[in-house]
């Protein structure tokens, strides 16, 4: 162990002074909280806990875990996971009102995993993984099976270090029906080095977190470069949690807020294990007007960055700096609007989408997706991934993509048809969105009649169709600098921009609720089913008896004599008896 640790330490020390941040151990924790007021007046709080471990997990060479949770580490090692992304979300991020999210997740549970090329049976590993994760996070991930798993070809790329992008090693599944609650939050909190005892995690009080408009928690594991030269691999675990608080209903129309108001707690210290602990407050001026809002207490510093094509400034509170807790024992960030906002005009995000089911009746229907590009002069392509369960039978010939009244031919289409009870439809398309346009993608479907045992207990509620995924490189209006990716807050480091002119956006549309034709599960229906079964059984056995021809099998006599005779006949070359 020691023999292994010493060279690693040396390696870490060699790398551009990162060892100072990493401390004497080989792992480091950085905790961050970003508070951003949303255009519609709500407040989004995003926690991120980044654990970075300079060890080579999949080799199985490690057995001593310090900050990195052992449950996840061993899972990664045992199942040959290269990258794991799990998000559990309650609610829906309303892009139109809340703007582009730092990291969006679809309603329900989402899991996507890249396996190591050494894994031979990916499906088996995937099944095992989802079952283990189901146990770790108390979520119904064990419902992930072949009927809702797909292998996208273009939408999902590895976010960490990767040699090849052979998409056969990728599995993706969404469970839109999954309900997320405290029983999922508790195991998630337990993975944190400080638990919820110290640091930013003290704010994670379930009672308040679920008294919000949106709740999304995620776990991302990926391999990253250990240093700039990228000779060795480190593993990174990001635990993120996003909540949106509705300031309107809680504040009687006033949109002021504070940490205490949102979480009913204040910050008193940093997590002792953390090498960085910061609170960022988004104080970027809106509508070109400055000084609309006021933050107390005074921030330790102000950080400016370009995030998602927009210039943002953040007030930073460093919990590790001793000056912060000098004046008062706790930090309660307060946020005040200097004058009430009176305009209903909100900045519209460059890319947003809407999806719905159209038509009526229980025979056919249509899934329509509207994708908006509100960029004034730049067109950009977007990859759309649709996963539709098999019981909605898509008519692919009805697929129409219309932009500004004209047909828009996708430059790439990957369609994998569904197989009943085996695999869902997968439709991936690369569509060019002209500047300032709405693109309507519609496809018709027929509703299948299920077998009567396949209906859930509440068939009249409807059946969910998972969110479709939009991935795009959105051109930025402001030229972006090449920043130090490692140091920038929160999520910019998860999706680094390839060049300075565009940034990556992944959006999820609404899940859909589709009614299927359901039989009347009442007494007459049961009677019919029962009668049919009884009749079928009786008729079947009678029919069997009546049509079968019986003949008596002659017991073979004179076994030994016959055998001897046959041997003799064999020698003589005569056919046996």
């Amino acid at each position: 162990m020691l023999a292994l640790a010493v060279p690693l330490l040396l390696l870490a020390a060699a790398g551009r002074g990162r060892a100072a941040a990493a401390g004497p151990g080989r792992d480091a924790l950085r905790e961050e909280l970003l508070l951003s007021p949303l255009p519609a007046g709500d407040v989004a709080a995003t926690f991120q806990f980044r654990t970075r471990w300079d060890a080579d997990l999949p080799r199985g060479a490690v057995s001593h875990y310090r900050l990195f949770p052992k449950a996840l580490g061993r899972l990664v090692a045992a199942l040959g996971v290269r990258e794991l992304h799990l998000a559990l979300t309650q609610g829906f991020w309303r892009t139109q009102a809340w703007g582009q999210p730092p990291l969006q997740a679809p309603a329900g549970a989402e899991l996507w995993v890249w396996f190591q090329p050494s894994v031979t049976d990916v499906d088996k590993a995937w099944k095992e993984l989802s079952n283990i994760l189901s146990g770790i996070f108390c979520a119904s991930l064990n419902f992930i099976d072949a009927t809702n798993t797909v292998t996208p070809t273009a939408s999902f790329k590895p976010l960490g270090l990767a040699n090849g992008t052979d998409h056969h090693l990728l599995r993706y599944a969404v469970l839109p029906r999954e309900v997320v609650c405290t029983e999922n939050l508790t195991p998630w909190k337990k993975l944190l080095p400080c638990g919820s005892k110290a640091g930013l995690a003290v704010l994670l009080k379930a009672e308040r977190l679920f008294h919000s408009s949106y709740h999304s928690q995620a776990v991302h594991i990926r391999p990253i470069c250990r240093d700039a030269s990228c000779l060795a691999v480190s593993w990174e675990l990001r635990q993120t949690l996003t909540v949106v608080f509705d300031t309107f209903s809680s504040g009687q129309g006033k949109k002021d807020w504070s940490l205490f108001k949102m979480f009913s707690r204040t910050l008193t210290d940093a997590c002792p294990l953390a090498s960085q602990s910061k609170v960022y407050v988004d104080i970027s001026p809106k509508n070109k007007e400055k000084e609309l809002l006021e933050v107390t207490p005074l921030p330790t510093s102000v950080y400016e960055a370009i995030v998602q094509g927009d210039k943002r400034s953040y007030a930073v509170y460093d919990l590790l700096s001793p000056s912060l807790f000098n004046t008062s024992r706790s930090l309660n960030v307060q946020f005040k609007w200097k004058r009430p906002e009176d305009s209903s005009e909100m900045p519209i995000p460059v890319l947003h989408a809407q999806r719905y089911v159209s038509g009526y009746g229980l025979q056919t229907g249509e899934i329509s997706t509207l994708i908006y590009n509100t960029h004034p002069y730049r067109a950009f392509p977007v990859i759309l991934l649709e996963t539709v369960p098999w019981y909605l039978r898509l008519y692919v010939h009805t697929l129409t993509i219309i932009t500004k009244g004209k047909e828009n031919k996708p430059s790439y289409i990957h369609y994998q048809p569904a197989q009943d009870r085996r695999q869902p439809h997968l439709l991936e398309m690369l569509i060019q969105l002209p500047a300032n346009s709405v693109t309507k993608i519609s496809i018709q479907f027929e509703r299948a009649l299920l077998k009567w045992t396949e209906y859930p207990p509440d068939p009249n509620h409807g059946f969910y169709v998972g969110s479709s995924v939009l991935s795009a490189l959105v051109p930025s209006i402001i030229a972006m600098k090449d920043m130090d990716v490692e140091e920038s807050p929160l999520f910019t480091s998860l999706f680094p921009s390839s060049d300075g002119s565009s940034y990556f956006v992944r959006l999820y549309t609404e899940p859909l609720l589709v009614n299927l034709p359901t039989p009347d599960f009442s007494m007459p229906y049961n009677v019919i089913c029962l009668t049919c079964t009884v009749v079928a059984v009786c008729y079947g056995s009678f029919y069997n008896l009546l049509t079968r021809t019986f003949h008596v099998e002659e017991p073979s006599r004179g076994g030994l004599a016959k055998w001897l005779a046959n041997i003799i006949r064999k020698f003589r070359g005569v056919p046996p008896l």
Binding site: G108, S213, Y214, S249, S358, G361, N460, H461, G462, L513
Partner: protein, 573 residues
């Protein structure tokens, strides 16, 4: 109540913004007067300040002919709606509270109450479904435009603009009509387009909350008598039942909720009544009732499906289920079937050779049956041609009619309709004599075959109809079945002709109008009745062209030709 999720009434309603509702209603009225129509900007601003996500939809529609009762032809309007997004829900399900913005002082309080409810609901945390607060213009037209745009279908020729904000599958809708600051009672309207009915649970829900809050509630404008076991109470129930049958048979939506039913959204219209009764209820009580209903609907785990979709209501708390009324209808249809069987037997009996030949060789039918069947072709064709003319000509020929006669378009349409209807009875009915040769045996028995055909045709039509709209099927069956069974060229022809004319759908409609006026205790004079009849014809046509009601094509293309066949039978010789 059958739905488990709406079972208990544990919650206490806390809506107390009655005064606010009235203030908003006054504001709305003032802005409506200033704008001379729907105050779109004010509504948008108010809804936004209440914390809703506001959208608007513009629509326009050109009617096939001017609607004289409402004075409109080219309709332009705007629907404004706000969506209350439920926290931690993914916008998969929604509820709708809608109210119409009518010209004049009508329905202002409904808008006020809607806004007050929106403001109260916004502050609550328990919503699991999005709630859409919709203020629509031009009553049914606006609602149709909104529903079609929401479901992205285009059934009628309404044009609407722009993409909309959506909130998933709508589970239930309540439409509100309220024109006074206080109410004495609430009337609930259930009948929708084509006589569709909402699930009985929704009605029971309303009834339960009325009883909880002590509100008086009525159906068909009739209050249930407390002594339900007495003779006058039975008479009252019968009146209510008959009114419901007439209303359902008309296929006209009794409120704005009626259009929701096509999309399988359970909906009712609640209409506040302010009469001379002593005890009045204020807005808070009304709001509490609605709050309770919405909270219950919010609890729904599945679409309303447990209770009945087919029922008749003699009072709000009692219903006649489909299992009870369907046998009665079955017996009526049985008359036709038996009569047809009788004719079939007679045909076979008088011509035993023919039927033997039919079974023995292929030559037989060609010699004896063919002229008989051939003789049937012209009357069937002529009758259906008359039906087609009845369906298409009035609307197509309105410009020709207005050029040649001093009438307006709407009058022209209705008068053409009546003219074609009457002319159909005078069409040539003696083609069989030319074809079959006079006095032949086949020609003499031709009427039997024709009647057999007409009876079976009628029976099939009425049965199919009773499954779609029981009341209409029942009314038609009650009037047409005796006449159809009795019709024959032999016997007292004048009497039979009179019976048959009385049984024609148009006369049924006329009589239905008189009966309806009688039942609502406002009997109509013959002149007024006739005016209402003309109005009903025009409205029926409009309802078909604007909302796709099937009554008009059904009568023109199905029942009327069938009746003409019977008329042919009567005048066979």
């Amino acid at each position: 109540m059958s739905e488990n999720a709406m079972g208990s009434t544990m919650v206490e309603e806390q809506f107390s913004l009655g005064e606010r509702a009235l203030a908003l209603a006054r504001d709305f009225a003032a802005h409506k007067k200033k704008a001379g129509g729907m105050p779109t900007a004010w509504l948008e601003k108010t809804m936004w300040s209440l914390g809703l996500e506001v959208h608007q939809q513009q629509f326009s529609h050109t009617l096939p002919f001017p609607d004289e009762s409402r004075e409109r032809y080219l309709v332009r309007g705007t629907n404004v709606y706000g969506i209350l997004r439920a926290p931690r829900a993914a916008s998969t399900e929604a509820l709708v509270l809608s109210t119409g913005c009518a010209p004049g002082p009508h329905n202002n309080q409904a808008v006020g109450l809607l806004l007050a409810l929106a403001s109260y609901f916004r502050g609550q945390i328990y919503w699991a479904k999005d709630i859409i607060f919709l203020v629509n213009e031009h009553d049914l037209l606006g609602m149709e435009a909104w529903l079609e745009a929401y479901h992205d279908v285009n059934i009628t020729a309404v044009r609407s603009s722009g993409p909309l904000g959506r909130a998933g599958a709508i589970q239930a809708a309540i439409s509100l009509e309220l024109s006074s600051d206080v109410v004495t009672s609430f009337d609930v309207a259930v009948e929708g387009l084509n006589g569709q009915l909402p699930n009985l649970d929704l009605l029971n829900l309303f009834n339960a909350f009325c009883q909880k809050n002590g509100l008086l509630c009525t159906i068909q404008g009739k209050l249930q008598r407390s002594d339900w076991d007495s003779l006058p109470a039975y008479a009252r129930s019968l009146q209510t039942l008959l009114l419901m049958v007439l209303a359902q048979a008309s296929g006209r939506p009794r409120g704005e909720h009626g259009l929701f039913l096509r999309y399988r959204i359970e909906a009712v219209t609640l209409r506040g009544i302010n009469s001379f009764r002593q005890y009045k209820y204020d807005m808070s009580t009304v709001g509490k009732t609605l709050e309770g209903m919405f909270r219950k609907l919010n609890n729904l785990l599945e679409r309303l499906h447990q209770s009945y979709f087919f029922y008749l209501l003699p009072s709000l708390s009692r219903f006649v289920s489909i299992g009870v009324y369907m046998p009665a209808f079955g017996f009526l249809i049985l008359v036709l079937i038996l009569r047809a069987l009788d004719l079939w037997m007679k045909l076979n009996k008088t011509d035993p050779g023919g039927s033997d030949q039919l079974s023995d060789s292929d030559h037989g039918p060609s010699t004896t049956e063919a002229p008989r069947l051939l003789a049937l072709v012209p009357p069937v064709l002529v009758c259906h041609a008359a039906g087609l003319a009845l369906y298409y000509l009035p609307v197509l020929g309105q410009s020709v009619a207005t050029q040649h006669f001093p009438v307006s378009e709407a009058e022209a349409v209705v008068l053409t309709l009546i003219a074609i209807y009457v002319a159909g009875m005078a069409l040539p009915h003696s083609t069989h004599r030319v074809l079959g040769g006079p006095g032949s045996v086949a020609a003499a028995r031709g009427w039997m075959v024709l009647k057999l055909l007409a009876l079976l045709y009628l029976a099939a039509q009425l049965t199919a109809l009773a499954l779609l709209n029981f009341s209409l099927g029942f009314l038609l069956a009650v009037t047409m079945v005796p006449a159809a069974a009795a019709t024959a060229p032999t016997g007292p022809r004048v009497l039979l002709a009179l019976v048959l004319v009385l049984a024609t759908p148009a006369v049924t409609l006329l009589l239905g109008i008189f009966l309806e006026r009688e039942l609502v205790e406002a009997p109509a004079a013959p002149g007024e009745g006739w005016q209402r009849f003309l109005g009903a014809l025009g409205q029926g046509l409009l309802l078909h062209h604007l909302h796709g009601a099937f009554l008009c094509p059904l009568l023109a293309l199905g029942t009327y030709p069938c009746w003409l066949l019977l008329w042919n039978v009567l005048f066979w010789d």
